[in-house]
Amino acid sequence: MNPGAPKIVPKPKALNCPSCGSAIELRAMGAAAAVVCSYCSVTLDATNPQLVILQRFQAQMTVQPLIPLGSRGKLFGAVWEVIGFQQRGIDVEGTNYFWREYVLFNPYKGFRYISEYDNHWSFVTPIPSLPVPGVNNYNRPTMTFDGVIYDHFQTAQAYTWFVIGEFPWQVKVGEIVTAADYVAAPKMLSSETTENEVNWSRGEYIDGKEIWAAFQLPGAPPPAVGVYSIQPAPVEVQKGRPWKLFFIFAALLFGMMTFFSMRALDETVMEQTYTFQPLATGEKSFVTKPFQLKGNSANLRVEVMGQLDNSWAFFGMALINEDTGQAYDFGRQISSYHGVDEGESWSEDDKLDAAILPSIPGGKYYLRIEPETEPVPAGASPLAVKPITYTVRLIRDVPFYFRYFLGMFLLLLPLPFMGRKRGNFEQTRWTESDYGVPPNSIAWQANSASGDDDE
């Protein structure tokens, strides 16, 4: 049935470093091209059973990997063993920036990498396809891969400073490649180019905690420093997120508004028309008939409506609880003016005024009203003074919209601040790029335009 019965490939035997004699463990089943002795840092040809020395070097630096060689962990759906580690660096105007790379191996799936810079981590997968180059609206280079557009971040000469363990290529300290990074947070597209070869890979930002959990490392990952090129923006300012939150809360408010307005009693408790004679002497105030306010506690809308003729009327009012004597004092005013000016007739009416008394407990109440109007001028004809007719209407438990609109407005307030926070985050992300500013920044276009002028 099975022509080639499965053979079990044994674990590679430990070998001794031909330089210092220390035990060298080969983990990659022979798939690696080079192995660097952890003790004396000599680089050996892992494809040769005799472990021929490829490079001896005086260690310029020693870097301890945070994930020890030989650690195994499950990440992105497969088990990986850490078999190699290197520190690389770029020189930007005299300043060295270092990052570290861990080589991961699985005998069936091949090689992956974990990259770490300033304690920001990413999981890197080689990609066999070539991304499609382009430029964005601001004339900055892009690469498109798998439908995602990546913005050029940086191109630099990457120098290998320190290596230990096994590598799928003949790694050497001092090796120089041209490394270009394109970002679409949380992903990065990177190319490494030498004279004879170009290799592309795609990295994905990963929380250090996930790595610590996957490889069961003790303690916690060291805190990340600054903003990394493919670090996702803080969740609260991610693209569309503030608006999403706004719409969620606005919908909630709208729902509350609908619910409470449907539940509102909105019941006219009393509607009564009165007449006030400005010429009358004596006590002007009077009390209405008592009325019942239902429910435990709800608002009460008090409306005063009336028709006046070039006059105003003020109504001092008190809502008084018959049982407890508790009084709610307030006043409302109506007015109506009209005339003719330079042949144009005009009018200014305020025929209705209303007050909403909040949280009035249920019970038996009456209203005390004290009307007041323009004093009658001395010597005026009593016939010219018209009585004022007005209607007082009490509505129990009216739906109340204003607070919801206020709520919507308050919800809008943080949006500009979040937009600015997002902008600042993007600004910081792109500070270390070749451009210093985000890919959609007009500032760079202006610079490049002036740069063109210089030529």
């Binding site: 099975n2 022509p3 080639g4 019965a5 499965p6 053979k7 079990i8 490939v9 044994p10 674990k11 990659a28 089943m29 022979g30 798939a31 690696a32 091209a33 892992a46 494809t47 059973p49 088990v79 699985n106 005998p107 069936y108 799936k109 091949g110 090689f111 080689p126 066999p128 396809s129 070539l130 991304p131 499609v132 799928p168 290529w169 003949q170 004279e195 004879n196 070869e197 170009v198 290799n199």
Partner: protein, 213 residues
Amino acid sequence: MSQPTAICPNCGAPIRFRWSSAIQTTCEYCKSILVRHDVNLTKVGQVADLPPDISPIQIGTEGMYRNTAFQVIGRIIYSHDIGAWNEWHLLFSNGSNGWLSDAQAEYAVSFLSQPDSPLPGPSEVYRGFQYTQQGVGLVVTALTEANYEGVEGELPFQYWDKSRCPFADLRSQDGRFATIDYTETPPLLFLGEFVEFESLQLKFLKEFEGWTA
């Protein structure tokens, strides 16, 4: 599937062909490289010890590519700077043959392809060279000077006395892959695509101590 067996002219062991069109095979017992002339087999060489085996694939491994079943019936082993890689010779259930290359667990399936236009010569090709085959835009991404390390099993041609093997690897923007093999004159073009290990649904793989597929 089972083909008439022949006898190894070197050691007399039975030689079983899985593929009637095989030109060359190796004797499992004495490691002689045998070339078929009609019904007779001639020993043309001897396989030296193969380099340490790193691939999970072996002769007899079965899998699927684009809904067609295949069996691995032979291989050529190369080495270069970054270690060894295998070109596994595939026999498909429809009778066609192709290649599965396994370079450090980066897998690609390819087929011999008649070039649409003359291929660049070995001295004309460079990294970044562009070539169009069957409407696919390909770019040379790597130039490799490989060493022939050995053969195993059935092959569609005689292949046993190579040493220096220059190759150009080409890639496209949509996952296609091509190799120009400069060991022949005129050079050969293999066109195919990169494949995910899982997508091949491989059976009868080698096992690695301490790992599960």
